[in-house]
Amino acid sequence: MNTNYTLDVYNRLMKTMKVAKPATKSNGLLTRTTKSKPSAMSEVDVIREYVSAIQEERGNVKNG
């Protein structure tokens, strides 16, 4: 029985990190201008932020 889920969790997180944000629509007359309330960060979002920060640092280390 496989009890090591590291690869699956890692790959899944990487997949969600690569998803491009949808393009914002142009502002028409009927476009709502009020900003939606910032939703609370989920636990995965927290991890995603940490991973992207470490990856950035990793890139810096690689490039010297």
Binding site: T3, N4, T6, V46, I47, V51, I54, V61, K62
Partner: protein, 163 residues
Amino acid sequence: MVDAPKFDAPIPGMSLTTEVGNRPWQQPPRFAKTKDVAEYYVEKLAEDNFADMLVDVAETGIPLTSIANTIQMNSVMQGIHSVDSGILALPVIMEMMLITVEAAGIEYNSGMEEDTSNKPMGTELLLSKLKSFSTEQMNEEPEDMPMPVIEPDMGGGLMSRRQ
């Protein structure tokens, strides 16, 4: 293939050998929030002491995914965080380890490469092999089989007619 029996499983009733709540993992974890767990690993894995040990272990060829899993399971057993927080923190542990081994410039096995040695044959490959096998058999001309020589029965039994 049938899996070989596993003998390293816990003995039935092993968890009942102590009062409930005596084990660290039966207590509330030290860090409940995912942010705190991630912060804990970032700090811990950045220590020089840990980096040296990790480099030594990674040089032996042990996959980093296995090391990451062991680290988080060990923390669960020590009551530092819950199992689900540990699973969530796995990418952070992996990234921290990758940054360490890459900075050390050693050869390492990340454990993220696809291992094809244990994979079953793909359907397409299997079909093509089957196809080539059947065409080979069709093309082969049947060898001339020698006709068996049937010798006349001499009738050596007790009830055979005497001549």
